[in-house]
Subunit: 426 residues, 4 copies
């Protein structure tokens, strides 16, 4: 890889790092991806509404939350046509390289930042070298900036190769809130994909390590739950209320007590609560944020079903109404062993890679599983690989950073794997 | 009152004391009352089925619990016709003295003992003087033996007086388990009653004191609740069970948390629990015994309704069924002030009475309120009076005893009050 | 009463109405009271720190909450000496009229507004006649504006009368949050008071009605409770957390289940909750706002003690810490019957009063009970009287208003009662 | 194997089947084993107290539960010396075959029946062929009768072989209640054991299958928990009680809500509850039976520690005392891979074995793990093998039966494995 290419990858990554945008608000990020794709010269660039199933989006913020980011993007000079196509929470890009007959290979990366103030410690390289987040309170603390750069580098490399077939890259919005995966899976561009590769950097793996395909991402659903009762004066007429506080407390206690399942691991958590007005008023409304997980999609659904029964019964018990809303969710889909082998073989031949791990448990959740599931259902294969990168501190911490040496490794492994796929029978 | 009469009262009371029988099993007691009434000579003696509404009986024991008492009664020589009429839990007697035109006055006493082993301490008079309970494990520890004696004495006194009208005496079974009051209230003999007097001895009032009419007996309901789920191996497949233990625990916690009511005092208690089979099995069945009380009947019913909602929702929450059964209940009815005044005036003129208290709060529950309610609904007046008696220890304790001097006072106050009622316009 | 006096009462009340200030932030209100007292000419005016026991203040807002009100007061031209004396949440005034030998008579009124946006409906008189609140989001919706005006009018009337003795008026801050009563009770000026009168307008009583002395204000305590545990990833390591959410839920369930008490009415409520960060994180911190009440101070304390046991045990159960802080409280103290009789007699002779009710149950809580308790403990008498006023809607609603005709009635009853007290033997 | 030997195995198994005895009450079973060992002629027979650590016994029944079984054994002619040595719940036997220099090899079988009435369906072979349980309500429903027969057969076979070294057989009592394993592990006879084999029949494996060594028996602890509060009249003075019912309900809810653990599977169950006296009495005493399990011993201990915290805090919350007693427990110990390989190799060469499975998850709990742990700690190897047997219905059901063809297979595999061990270097 030329020094220029290497330099461009680093510059790109730093440019995205400076402007992190949270889920469904990646207006500026979308714009910059489009510009880069135009520079590279691909056969099709589809944006926002064109690549998403509007109804399948999850965890979309309301207008008040979208507006400031839209305004900021406008001020930063984002093109009006991009703003139009991404309006109302429709960020994201799909790029297609069409090289005639051959398999349809796809790559998926994510593109959103998170709500976390970035460190200004001089030991934190982005601070020292001037590419720290310019969006106060937000940060690329999970490496999605590196993912975008790698994807752009991979497109360029594939374009310059002997690749035959179709190569489609998905820049998916709103991964952190499990909001964009389903919408992109149902947006139309996955149709006919034979091989899907997804990538993540780091996760404890150092530069030089590649995990060929992860397994056991947890199936997950995130719910917002509102109990509505009736307020009353707690001293004068407690019996006239319908106590949402008691309903919520009963629900919480019983949620954690949902039976363990013989088929495997389940999880449930109520992580946030707020409601009521004052100490002397029977609480009328309480809102919870909860999640359920399972080692399999079925186990997650078992837990969600049990949780919903607990919620409805707790409301009924205290004469309240309850509205559980599934904000986002993702199934469990493991990497395909055959595609994993292909990635492993490619990685073993890649400069800079000194350790190839066949598979590893993912532990957390990832909504790329929607895309993987879709591809599997149509007869295609999918794998989720990890490209190691030295990171000084954990993901989702203010001093997270990536080793930019890994960008080049990522591009090599991905572009070679795409090429290798195109040589297989679809 | 002659020495003979006084002696007969004491003998009678001691005879009943020796043979306490629990609710709906007062076969021998019924028989003895019938014999005494025949000796006295009244105009009508109705027994068992003739005086009860079968369907309105509550807390009736099953055959296994009735049988040994029936057998014991048979062995003691109880008359076959009494056994016939009281079969299947239909104890109780009504005696009518018919003296032509005039008001219809009624007296109600209770007749059951309780499950409590009587003390054999030589300081306990029944033990010392040879009239301790001969039914092991059972005892007249609330003075119902004295009530029966007083009622018989009162009938005799009224019969010998210038009383004009109808005088009906109700010997009610199963008061301790709140089981007989409703059945007697609906048994037919209360029809047309203008004045109803009920009586209790003691309750902390010494010999010489009379409370003319109590108020605020608590309304009460006693429930048996069974949760039914599905058992499962707690280690291998906890998810396959429907955990009646969790349902019961949720119900108990929320039962005690039923909101206090602005209209007054309420109570709820789960006093007994049993269920499940072994530590490694998800519990299939749990049974609770619970009660609710209220300062008024409406407050008791509020609490019962809330309790039932809690029970059904707790069952639903854990995929169980629940069956709450109201075993017995009693409303709140206060003594009528006018009748109370009449009793007070009579008591003030009675030899041996040195303190007349107009009214007092009752505190507990009493199913005579069913009879009082019935009389009130038909336009009659009812009062529940207390005849003081020195009692060495509390009611419902193994060394409870009454001061037999109070028997005569009770007969005087009751018979004079009955006579006084007959002089009033109905 | 002259037309001028009547006019001044109305003007004063409207002036206070325009500038409602919440508890411990009554800087402008204090300033205006001081100015009026100087106009009237009393023998001593003590302000803020001079009249309060600093340590006995409760529910004092922190600096961030005080500052904007201080700034607003400064801009409105409040005198620097008043700002000095009221600094750091020390509002309130005491005015003394010293007329030589004679009893020490005292009057207490409150002076804070509440957090409630006032209606701008043209049917709402303050809106129609231009004296609606100028402090957005705050309102005199409980008549404290009228109380201040009445107190000033009473001081003026007493000063002009043949009153002999000492007359001390307490303008108490922070009544709505039960924050100021104890601090003023312990501030020194109550010493030697023989008669204490407190007054409230309305509470359902129409213009022309006076309640001579209320009874049964509920004893109350308001608590803020913080559970602190340890956060953890709910999917990856739930066992590493100490779940404050579960601790709070357990505490809430058991708080409502604190046993009812045989001595009388108790109440408990958790009216507000907030905590945790996200659905996938074990909650580290949860804050509750709770209150306990009792028909007597002892019953309130029983409930508070039980609540604290529940809180500590719930924290212990989930390996969390808990800090319950009593924010404010008030005991139960009834009006003295003798002083009540004096007020009733005075009221019966007052023009405009057509109905004098001897006593009524208060139902809610009031921290004037701290002052009443103090006076009682020193051998003095205290009564809390109600001056009826037609109010179109309930207290604490956006369209609450008082009938200004009642201002004059209030001044007459209060000043005549003060005068009458001075004629009694102390 | 000769027809005679096969016949003896079947006869023996049926003899034991006819007389099932529950844990620590295997008096007759012990006696019969001793007789058979004397017939066979071994070098040492140790009984009861001689083979158990008295203090390490768990779940020992009290005298009232032991007595009827002792009496029954006496009547059946059990030898006085056996009754002496097994007195007070000290059943069990150890048999030693001493053949000079060589490794010390051990075999462990269990010997208790369970509380379950055996089916008298004519399709149930023990019923049809006359060897159904003669102890009403008790049954060998888990194959321990077959285990004893196999062990006796194995001793005989080893004795007749070229075995060199020491062969010790443990007939362990009270396996079903996890009561005997620890006591035997600490009884002295395990000292110096180089190889320990344990065996179970069936568990879903058909005749002809052998599982060479199981893994993942769950670590388990069984607790009895008693809450003690104070009773009170639920209507008149609920505040005077300390409500053990509320404490238990709080404990149950929170027990099931103990956090899942990142290291693996945990279980908790409250399977039995009983307490309180009547609906109108605040419950004074409630007893629970609970268990905790874990995929590892550490996970079980985590859950037990959490459960104990829940119990103590729930008691404290309701002013009660609580006494959790660990009745029995067992650690997790997996079969040693090397010894498993040896067993597998032997099994593959055994007539009648057509399927050898290297390992399988055990799923449940087994207190042989105490013996395995002891052997491992001293440097020896242990394996727990399964000998398949067709069983018409599940273990622990009234129609459970074993295929007697498997007895011979078991003896062959066990005796050959013992012999093979003796050929290894210890």
């Amino acid at each position: 890889m030329s020094h220029d290419v290497r330099r461009r990858l680093t510059d790109l990554r730093r440019a995205f790092h400076r402007h992190p945008e949270p889920g469904w608000r990646e207006f500026r990020t979308t714009d910059r991806i489009v510009s880069e794709l135009e520079r590279i010269g691909v056969d099709e660039i589809a944006v926002g509404r064109e690549v998403l199933s509007t109804d399948a989006r999850m965890a979309v913020p309301d207008v008040e939350e979208l507006e400031p980011w839209l305004e900021r993007a406008r001020e930063a000079g984002v093109r009006p046509d991009v703003l139009d196509r991404t309006a109302d929470g429709h960020t994201g890009v799909v790029a297609v390289v069409d090289r005639g007959e051959g398999p349809h290979v796809a790559l998926r990366v994510d593109m959103d930042g998170i709500s976390l103030p970035e460190s200004d410690d001089p030991d934190h390289r982005p601070a020292a070298e001037g590419f720290r987040s310019e969006h106060d309170g937000y940060m690329h603390a999970c490496g999605h900036d590196a993912h975008i750069a790698m994807a752009l580098g991979t497109i360029e490399a594939v374009k310059d190769s002997e690749f035959a077939g179709t190569f489609t890259t998905f820049f998916q919005p709103a991964e952190e809130i499990s909001g964009g995966g389903k919408a992109m899976a149902e947006g139309g561009y996955l149709e006919g994909v034979d091989y899907l590769l997804a990538v993540h950097v780091g996760l404890g793996n150092p530069t030089g390590t590649v995990v060929a395909g992860v397994e056991k991402p947890l199936a997950m659903a995130h719910l917002t739950v509102t109990f509505e009762g009736a307020s009353a004066h707690a001293g004068k007429a407690p019996n006239e209320g319908a106590n949402a506080m008691q309903a919520a407390a009963t629900a919480i206690q019983n949620a954690y007590a949902i039976p363990r399942h013989s088929d495997g691991m389940t999880r449930v958590n109520v992580g946030r609560i707020e409601g009521g007005t004052a100490s002397n008023v029977v609480a009328e409304e309480i809102t919870l944020e909860a999640e359920v997980r399972g080692e399999t999609t079925a186990l997650m659904e078992y837990t969600r079903t049990e949780l919903e029964r607990v919620l409805y019964a707790a409301a009924e018990m205290h004469d309240c109404d309850v509205t559980p809303r599934v904000i986002s969710e993702s199934p469990r889909v493991d990497s395909d062993p055959a595609l994993r082998d292909l990635v492993g073989a490619v990685a073993r031949g890649t400069t800079g890679v000194d350790d190839v791990i066949e598979t590893a448990e993912f532990g957390g959740s990832e909504d790329v599983t929607y895309l993987m599931e879709r591809v599997n259902e149509s007869g295609g294969l999918a794998a989720y690989l990890l490209v190691g990168t030295d990171h000084p501190t954990n993901h989702h911490t203010p001093t997270f950073d990536v080793d930019e040496e890994s960008l080049e490794i990522g591009v090599s492994v991905l572009s070679d794997a795409v090429l290798e796929c195109s040589r297989r029978e679809p």
